[in-house]
């Protein structure tokens, strides 16, 4: 199949001039090796300098360029135009307020991430001069997969629970909380559990599994959350049935 041009149908919204969003069509040349992001950059550089969107690394690691491509949350720097039909619909990530065109407001995620304390909480204060804390490859393997989150927010965009309940902490932040909870160097489970095990935490997840399906890095947030539920439940029973225990 040889294609010479393709069409981008792009969501446009400028809060200073528009009351309603609209779709704008751009005809652009087709290149077999172009990413959807390259197509957008072509529009920006050659057709319409007023189009706004975020991007940076162009290698699926900075997490800037997540958008809806034909309704599916996708990193535009990891999606080739050749894999789509001749018309590609591009919209801002679902479930977030749109600031302008393809740029969404991410404040909610940033504050939720901070709220789960995504950092090592280490109760024994060993001085730095004693060197690194030992951690075997097996201990590392327990949490390694969950360190891969690039915070691109595709999972929030795919999660119906998040779309229905704004208080839900959501897949990426819960995954990172779990990542620290199961790190052999960490003692912070109880501090995080107040938030992670709350009504806004793992128990709001109804296990649709969409987060894991759209994750561009294979992190599998749904797995982290289900495992989080098990630890949370175990903690609950231990606390109530064995109040003398120290968990």
């Amino acid at each position: 199949m040889s294609r010479e041009t393709i069409e981008l149908v792009v969501f446009r919204y400028n809060p200073e001039t528009d009351c309603e969003p609209a779709y704008q069509r751009y005809q652009i040349p087709y290149h077999h090796d172009w990413l959807v992001l390259d197509a957008l950059n072509y529009v920006k550089d050659h057709l319409d300098r007023s189009l706004s969107y975020r991007w940076s690394c162009h290698m699926a690691v900075c997490g800037s360029c997540g958008m809806m491509i034909n309704g599916e949350p996708t990193l535009t720097c990891k999606a080739f135009v050749r894999d789509y039909a001749d018309s590609i619909r591009i919209e801002p990530l679902a479930n977030f307020p749109v600031e302008r065109d393809l740029i969404v407001n991410q404040d909610d995620f940033m504050s939720k991430l901070a709220s789960v304390k995504p950092y090592i909480i280490d109760t024994d204060d060993v001085p730095l001069s004693e060197g690194e804390e030992l951690q075997t490859p097996a201990e590392l393997a327990v949490f390694d997969q969950y360190t891969g989150c690039i915070n691109c927010l595709l999972c929030y965009s795919a999660c119906p629970q998040y779309s229905l309940s704004a208080d839900f902490i959501g897949p990426a932040a819960l995954t990172l909380a779990h990542r620290y909870n199961i790190d052999s160097r960490d003692d912070g489970f109880r501090q995080r559990e107040e938030r992670v095990g709350s009504d806004d935490g793992v128990w709001q997840c109804s296990f649709v599994g969409a987060c894991s399906e759209v994750c561009p890095k294979g992190v599998d947030p749904a797995a982290a959350i289900q495992q989080g539920k098990i630890t949370s439940a175990a903690h609950y029973f231990k606390k109530h049935l064995m109040p003398w225990s120290d968990s």
């Binding site: 300098r49 950092y119 915070n151």
Partner: protein, 583 residues
């Protein structure tokens, strides 16, 4: 204009900026620290660093060896007092990252694992598979959430420094979400904005790497040091410029030309051992490997690929298991973007602009000549990297000097209690305001994207791996013309909210200024050293050029070029020796 009053303003929230913020917050928890960045912290380009971070930790290794490798790797242009400090602090900083949760790859016994890297005598590169920068950045960002003094200002683009009576007193930034200008009053300012690779058309650098911080300092009279030294990484994917880490060669990958021949043995890098020999062949320094590619290309021995000439990086003999354990990102990137699975086929690679060794002139404490202004990371030039940076020294550099900058700024703040008058501060902010207004109202004919493309082309053709007086002269003239045309820019987008047309125009302005320092400094250095190779001056000239070039801004004119001696403590300049003869 809205004013935010803080103690320390940090411009840039990548590895160096975050490390600085944490260091300042730990130094004095009562400080107010504004962490200002044009992108969210986790989007910063530290995220794309792959191979690892160097620091002496293993038995048999020594600080002296790390020092000697770094100084020789930099072709003796590094300041040796800075390198001494750097190698000494490196292990502490990397251990600190471990304590903060960085998922360093481990040995069976639980100790941190290290791998060999180019130009390094020993295995001393700590790594987290081949996503080290990503893990360092996210670990720093997540850890920074623990410190209440750190207040983030995400997606604010800094336009100018506030300088009053020869002292830096803050920054003026554009809040991208609203288009409003914000005045940050801060007695100490740290610039940590990273590199400027986007000046070139083919680069590993992300869209954000436009040299903004370098331009901020430069326009306020701070010299940019050693700007002619631009590193080409020898192994980027041909179409996109995506980085294929040096760790691929550290783990045993080999480079072959179209005849399947390990051509590096023809460039004083042999013998071609079947195992990775340190400081030889594929583990030679980046400048030499990129230059060897160019020579091979001249000889017609490279492989023709749809997106340009390449050589092959062959990892097949490592096997699937090792590739997945040690180089999972290499496999992912190569499969996704070149449709080549390194388990089954060699990866096509070619040299690609990667790193600016030069940058804002700072002393060993990260202080710039402008009182109250500090700089750290790729935007700064301390200089530990000299004429060519060794792979895995830069991730360590952002930690060592980022932390130093945070502490230095906190101490500087403690000694400076007098504040400038608010009226004076506000008067300072009028200049950036009119700059924005001029850009927004400009009705010339020039387009940001057109000028940017022409700048890219001029830099690649004139200031690439090999340079000459003619090529540089022509690039200088093109850049001068582009600067004039920049004044005739017309923005299509006149709105305030996320006006990326405006941001790109500001970035282009920064890139043009920085590009001129690169070209002019390269023209002035009539010798070949490290990454700066002149076809018309092929030898190193220690008699005249064992010096740092210092490019100083002159309004409406070419940068003024001066030189400053290199600090030498214990390593006298000598021949750089790699291959079998290397020690």
């Amino acid at each position: 204009m809205q004013m935010v009053s803080t103690d320390i303003a940090i411009v840039g929230a990548g590895g160096a900026g975050l490390r600085a913020a944490i260091a300042a917050a730990e130094h004095n928890p009562s400080l107010r620290i504004a962490l200002i960045s044009k992108v969210y912290p986790m989007r910063s380009h530290t995220v794309a660093a792959e191979g690892g971070a160097a620091g002496v930790i293993k038995a048999g290794d020594s600080l002296d060896d790390h020092f000697n490798d770094t100084v020789a790797g930099g072709d003796w242009l590094s300041d040796q007092d800075a390198v001494e400090l750097f190698v000494e602090t490196a292990p502490k900083e990397l251990t600190q990252m471990e304590r903060w949760g960085c998922p360093w790859s481990r040995q069976e016994d639980g100790h941190v694992a290290v791998r060999p890297f180019g130009g390094m005598k020993m295995e001393r590169t700590w790594f987290a598979t081949d996503k080290t920068g990503f893990h360092l950045l996210h670990t720093l960002f997540q850890t920074s959430l623990k410190y209440p003094p750190i207040q983030r200002f995400d997606e604010y683009y800094c336009i100018d420094l506030v300088v009053i009576d020869g002292r830096c007193e803050g920054v003026v930034a554009l809040e991208m979400r609203t288009g409003k200008l914000i005045l940050f009053q801060a007695p100490a300012v740290i610039i940590a904005t990273g590199g400027a690779g986007r000046i070139f058309p083919f680069t590993t650098n992300g869209a954000a790497n436009t040299g903004d911080g370098m331009a901020l300092a430069y326009r306020r009279g701070v010299p940019l040091k050693d700007m002619e030294f631009v590193q080409y990484h020898p192994t980027g994917l041909p179409g996109t410029g995506i980085l294929i880490t040096e760790a691929a060669r550290g783990e045993g990958g080999i480079l072959v030309n179209k005849d399947g021949y390990r051509y590096l043995q023809d460039y004083d890098l042999g013998p071609p051992d079947p195992w990775p020999r340190k400081k030889a062949m594929e583990l030679g320094p980046r400048d030499r490997l990129s230059q060897a590619f160019w020579q091979e290309q001249q000889k017609g021995r490279t492989v023709a690929w749809p997106s340009g000439d390449v050589v092959h990086l062959d990892l097949r003999h490592l096997g699937e298991k090792k590739i997945d354990a040690r180089l999972p990102l290499v496999r992912e990137l190569s499969s996704t973007y070149e449709n080549v699975d390194p388990v089954r086929e060699p990866i096509p690679v070619r040299p690609v602009v990667h790193y600016t060794m030069g940058g804002i002139d700072t002393d060993i404490n990260t202080a710039t000549p402008l009182s109250g202004l500090f700089a750290a990371g790729e935007c700064a030039c301390v200089s530990i990297n000299g004429a060519n940076r060794l792979g895995s020294n830069s991730l360590t550099e952002i930690l060592v000097f980022g932390a130093r900058a945070g502490r230095a700024a906190a101490e500087y703040r403690a000694g400076n209690d007098d504040r400038p008058k608010e009226s004076e501060l506000r008067r300072q902010a009028t200049k950036p305001r009119s700059r924005i207004a001029n850009l927004m109202q400009g009705d010339g004919k020039e387009q940001v994207s057109v000028l940017r493309r022409e700048m890219n082309t001029a830099m690649e053709s004139g200031a690439g791996i090999y340079r000459s007086e003619d090529s540089l002269q022509s690039t200088c003239e093109t850049l001068e013309a582009l600067c004039r045309r920049y004044a005739n820019l017309e923005l299509q987008d006149k709105s305030n909210v996320y006006n990326t047309d405006l941001i790109q125009a500001l970035e282009l302005g920064a890139m043009l200024d920085v590009a001129r320092t690169i070209a002019v400094s390269a023209l002035g250095r009539t010798e070949s050293r490290g990454s700066h190779q002149r076809l018309d001056h092929v030898e190193r000239d220690d008699g005249n050029f064992l010096t740092h070039s210092m490019a100083r801004f002159q309004e409406g004119n070419e940068p003024q070029l001066k030189y400053k001696p290199v600090t030498i403590t214990k390593s006298q300049p000598a021949q750089r020796v790699y291959g079998g003869a290397a020690k």
